[in-house]
């Protein structure tokens, strides 16, 4: 089958390998652009959150490229993500798109449909290929995240502006084409060395570290967060990711299915602020902010307009900020987000963080 799927950052590189292992032909939609979001919004319910619209746009662009089936994650609440797939299926149906829509979720009742789905997913797989595909996909995801994290450290220290992003882009394409775990290991080392060369190790000025928390899609997808990590990098700030796709899959897919996943450590970190999960990444946003406040200069909290779990976090974060003495900037994005306004707010925030550092160094107060 020719399978299309929505984008989530650079995860498409790993998903392609997985689908090939399953014996399908991946039809990767073009990376999200303005067209994606416009196309997606045109057919979406108007007050739905941004990820829904972008994902629907991805699906439409994938179908345009000739995909005959769509894979999408499902779920059972309380976040809207759990019902995305069903509404998207209906929208594609009403648009007359002849595609098989496969929702990946733990089935509840309707076992006939679940069996049918399993058959269409695994029907054309050969055990040996499947095993290799899974292994390769997992290795790609790990290398991908490590390389991205390294580039976050390198970007604020680069000798020539933009060189790290250019280099990373090339390396990602090499990872995409890699066919064995061994090649991936070599690529990782090559990237590490390459990034070291691009870095300016002479200059000694301190680099600010800013954590990024919030809703997973807006944190991970560079088009939707207006390339937040790159923007921070070129302002001379090291962005610190608090969300890892690999960890998310380990926790929510594997451990959850085996009943091993619990949120006790998150609840401990968020104690005094938020005492239960609120769906999505709301609890993570509060817990990570409280936990990492000691080793960061500031925190950026980003979420799509009307995201309910993150609104709860947004209401609670000011208290974390006051108690832990750490500046937190909450940013809300939707399809109308303007680049200039976004950049201005980031610059102002970074100025504020720098000022706080001066204040500590000479013991005088500027504010």
């Amino acid at each position: 089958m020719r399978v299309t799927f929505p984008h989530l950052g650079n995860a498409y590189i790993a998903i392609e390998a997985l689908l090939q292992g399953l014996g399908h032909e991946p039809v990767t939609p073009p990376l999200s652009t303005k067209r994606t979001i416009e196309w997606g919004s045109r057919y979406s319910p108007e007050d739905i959150c941004l990820p829904f619209k972008t994902i629907l746009g991805n699906m439409l662009e994938g179908i345009e490229l000739g995909a005959d089936s769509v894979y999408m994650l499902g779920g059972w609440g309380p976040c809207r993500l759990g019902y995305y797939a069903e509404i998207q299926r209906i929208i594609l149906l009403d648009l007359g798109k002849q595609v098989e829509f496969v929702t990946l979720e733990v089935p509840r009742g309707n076992w006939g449909l679940a069996r049918e789905r399993l058959r269409s997913i695994f029907g054309s797989a050969r055990i040996r290929h499947l095993f290799r595909g899974c292994q390769l996909a997992w290795a790609k995801l790990s290398v991908l995240e490590e390389v991205e994290n390294l580039s976050l450290q390198a970007r604020p220290r680069e000798k020539e502006r933009g060189s790290v992003s250019r280099f990373l882009e090339g390396q990602l394409q090499k990872i995409r084409l890699a066919q064995s775990v061994k090649t991936l290991r070599e690529l990782k080392e090559e990237t590490e060395a390459g990034l070291q060369d691009l870095m300016d190790r002479v200059s000694s000025h301190a680099v600010l570290r800013v954590g990024i928390v919030g809703e997973i899609y807006t944190v991970v997808e560079p088009f939707v967060n207006l390339r937040l990590e790159e923007r921070l990098g070129s302002l001379g700030v090291e962005a610190v990711r608090t969300i890892s796709l690999k960890e998310w899959i380990e926790d929510h897919v594997f451990k959850n299915a085996l009943g091993l996943y619990n949120q006790n450590s998150l609840l401990r970190s968020a104690a005094g602020y938020l005492h239960s999960f609120v769906g999505g990444h709301g609890l993570e946003s509060v817990a990570r902010s409280a936990e990492l406040s000691g080793c960061l200069d500031g925190i950026i909290h980003i979420y799509p307009l009307a995201c309910m779990p993150e609104i709860m976090a947004h209401g609670i974060l000011p208290q974390v900020s006051a108690d832990k003495q750490i500046p937190i900037l909450s940013l809300v994005v939707d399809e109308h987000a303007g680049e200039t306004g976004f950049q201005t707010r980031l610059e102002a925030f970074v100025d504020l963080l720098q000022r706080r550092i001066y204040q500590c160094q000479d013991g005088r107060k500027y504010i």
Binding site: P45, I48, G77, P78, Y83, Y273, F277, A306, M308, I316
Partner: protein, 278 residues
């Protein structure tokens, strides 16, 4: 259980303003008004505020993400002298678990016997209320309209801009999801390929199925930014299109003006009249 109970007054301008000033701006109208109500109570010198964390009221379902964080959010806006009593009410596993959590909540304040008696009395009161709502015969009117949406919005005259009375003035016979018994709504809610996992909207969809053959039009009210409603209103609109029933989507927030609502209701009723007379 021996408490002196103080309930906040019906929502008014002052209450909503308190909520708007304090609450995070992305929150929905209902949450903002909730913040205002808590403030109104704390101004009266309340020491203990009952704000349960209602995770779920039916097995396998959720209320909504905002309910889950509500007590923790309110704590940000209240003086430290007000203690929040926030038991977790969670029926995801079973309805028995919900009963247990109510009983556990009472134990620090009264003996087990007293708590159980209080719980039984509460259940009875709730049942009587639900029965009476189901038995209510709406005022006879020329147009039969099904009014859907969260109860904390449509039953609140101030937040819904007197929706009920305006519709009655326009000669509408109003039906709501409260008139449908839970068992019926649950069964009819299964009409969807994938049932909704938010109790309130699942009820709306069930009520729509129950009434759709018998009403002239459907009005769906939602607070701006509501996650569950953004899907439910799309599903309701689709079903209404299929059955060729007119539907009006009303999204309300703190900027909604009563005059605007009246105009839209009048236009909708005119349309229904015209459709009816062919």
């Amino acid at each position: 259980m021996g408490f002196r109970v103080v309930v906040s007054p019906p929502t008014n301008k002052q209450i909503l303003e308190w909520g708007l000033n304090a609450c995070v701006d992305g929150a929905c109208l209902a949450v903002k008004s909730m913040v205002g109500h808590s403030r109104a109570l704390s101004e009266q010198g309340i020491t203990l505020l009952f704000v349960p964390k209602i995770v779920s009221v039916a097995p396998g379902e959720y209320t909504c993400a905002n309910f889950l964080g509500l007590p923790d959010l309110l704590r940000q806006y209240l003086p430290s002298s007000t203690t929040i009593l926030a038991p977790t009410l969670d029926a995801r596993k079973s309805l028995g678990a919900l009963t247990q959590s109510y009983v556990r909540l009472g134990l620090p304040f009264a003996s087990r016997g007293a708590v159980k008696r209080a719980w039984r009395a509460a259940c009875q009161a709730q049942q009587t209320l639900e029965k009476s709502l189901q038995a209510t015969q709406p005022h006879r009117g020329r147009l039969r309209i099904l009014l859907l949406g969260p109860r904390y919005l449509i039953d609140d005259a101030y937040l819904s801009n007197n929706l009920y009375s305006h519709l009655q003035t326009l000669g509408a016979e109003l039906h709501t999801s409260a008139q449908v018994p839970e068992t019926v709504a649950r069964e009819l809610g299964k009409a969807l390929d994938k049932p909704l996992f938010w109790s309130d909207t699942r009820r709306s969809v069930g009520a729509l199925e129950h009434f759709i053959q018998r009403v002239d039009g459907v009005i769906n009210v939602a607070p701006f930014g509501c996650g569950a409603e953004s899907f439910a209103s799309a599903l309701i609109a689709r079903r209404c299109r299929e059955k060729k029933v007119a539907m009006l989507d009303l999204i309300v927030d703190e900027h909604t003006s009563e005059v605007g609502i009246i105009t839209r209701l009048e236009a909708f009723c005119d349309l229904l009249e015209r459709k009816k007379s062919g």
